[in-house]
Symmetry: C2
């Protein structure tokens, strides 16, 4: 009885559907919020939400929850959508902007791990590490002592970073240590970034040996890496994607890899996960990982802590820690 | 006729057996030296060398040429052994020291590429990149959407570098960018190195999450990484070897990996190359590459240029560029 009274005094937090590891962190949120668990209710979603129309000010949002204009219209008191992940492509950001709803994400909690993954994939492609590992496991070394093809030397190579946010800047920091020259493309030139800015991604590709995709998926970036960009990158070029699959025209990428219009690719993300184009399975110049960029134990705790900090800031009328910019 | 006269005026350079890609660089050396090609002579080696006993001052040495005390006794005029590679374990260094023969190697030409490989292997093990790539190629993602095990997060981890020469310091530079804490072991504490020095490798292992082996193979370092060191590294520990196979007791390493006494290994070198213990082929926490650390196109040109520069320095009585220290 005491607990339920307490619960009723806590601010409400709507959860439409929990992310895969929410349960590990549920206790933390349950202490500070009254959790409104839509997915546990027998009612249809719109009925469930309608009950809290006047009171619910916050949603905790995972990568599996679309927040559509319909959902938003059911929650007129909503002030914040706090995402426990990075990508906000399932949220109707335009509608949020019009309704004055803030959105926060936990991007910074993931960015260093995703940057590590970008380098891991780049080195794996450049040195053909999985192909070399397959060659040894196939017991080919003693009989065919010349493992084919030289490594792609990183030092002195020109790397283009597409999207220079948290992840992009962490990738740049790592590439510096490998002696790479760095340039970048983003919506606009960033003050204080010492690297050359290319307003057009095709010009960046034309001038670079490697492209690393680190930008958000938006209408503007969907299929931004198309055939022209891949051709500009050229037959010695390597592309790495640790952002979102649909930023690259995947069918075109497959063709460019097969026809050796580009030299190789390291892909942690795909257009239609968990489905990966099977043509890639035959290629030795491709390294494939199952959207695991930031999958470390520590990172999820950090992400939930950051999500919590955003929610606490909202309910204390403090500035949000990591708001998503809704105005580009 | 003119050419052969010219040839006779050039300083002599003995080559007992050429390395695998010497032919690509033969022209360069032929312009500056009279090449004494022992392997093309029908005479036995000792007879061939005896002819040049009074005149031959230099040997060009590859990774496939043992330079024994016997060979050295046949060439009393010898002043320098110029190695086109890094490791000098096939050269009787003690005998060289006693005879006042200098030895140079081309280590610095390779060190940055080998350091890149060390990071490539470390990231590949930490993020299970080849295992993830196998999982996707086996079409397992759609049916088993949880790829097992989290990544090993690098940031904040304590990495021990064993051998802090050219390669070790390049590895440290790269690890800094990933936010690792760095310590090292070497024969003696290095002035100007800002990292903590551990005189005993077992203490380094005990205090670190990762060991990266970058030292030369010598009597002192043979099987230096034994069971005690692996146990000290511990069940969450990762070991990377880009130096020489026999520095690790390989049979013990296999057992430690199978029994999960350590968490993983990235190995570019093995005790009995090209033979790799087949027990490793079954393990997902191991990444195997066929001694390819420095195998980039550019690196071999750089190595031969450096070898040439050492020879030219020797014949001009200038200080050698990259002498091997024969006094430890």
């Amino acid at each position: 009885m005491a607990e339920s009274e307490n619960q009723n005094e806590l601010p409400q937090l709507v959860i439409i559907r929990p992310g895969p590891i929410f349960s590990m962190h549920e206790g933390l949120f349950g202490e500070k919020f009254r959790l409104l668990k839509a997915w546990e209710s027998p009612e249809p979603l719109h009925k469930f939400l309608a009950k809290y129309a006047q009171s619910a000010e916050a949603i905790l949002c995972s990568s599996v929850t679309p927040i559509t204009a319909d959902v938003l219209s059911l929650l007129p008191s909503l002030g914040v959508i706090a995402c426990e992940n990075t990508g906000v492509e399932l949220i109707d950001l335009k509608e949020c902007r019009e309704r004055g709803i803030s959105v926060t994400n936990a991007g910074p909690a993931f960015s260093r791990d995703v940057a590590d993954m970008a380098l891991g994939l780049l080195l794996a492609v450049a040195m053909r590490i999985p192909a070399a590992d397959r060659y040894i496991r196939a017991r080919a070394w003693p009989d065919h002592p010349c493992f084919p093809a030289c490594n792609f030397k990183l030092r002195g190579k020109h790397v283009g970073i597409v999207g220079f946010g948290n992840i992009g800047s962490e990738v740049a920091k790592r590439l510096e240590a490998f002696g790479c020259k760095i340039s970048y493309n983003s919506r606009k030139k960033k003050p204080y970034v010492p690297y050359e800015f290319y307003p057009q991604v095709i010009d960046l590709a034309y001038n670079c040996n490697v492209l690393i995709i680190c930008c958000a998926l938006t209408d503007r970036t969907h299929h931004m890496i198309n055939r022209d960009v891949l051709k500009a990158l050229g037959e010695d070029g390597i592309i790495v994607n640790v952002a979102r699959g649909p930023i690259i025209d995947e069918q075109q990428l497959v063709m460019s890899l097969i026809s050796q219009e580009i030299a190789g690719a390291g892909l942690d993300v795909f257009e239609d996960e968990p489905n990966v184009p099977s043509e890639l399975f035959e290629l030795d110049n491709v390294v494939l990982t199952p959207h695991r960029g930031a999958f470390t134990e520590e990172v999820f705790s950090n992400a939930f802590e950051l999500t919590m900090a955003n929610l606490e800031a909202f309910f204390s009328n403090e500035p949000l820690i990591t708001p998503v910019n809704l105005h580009d």
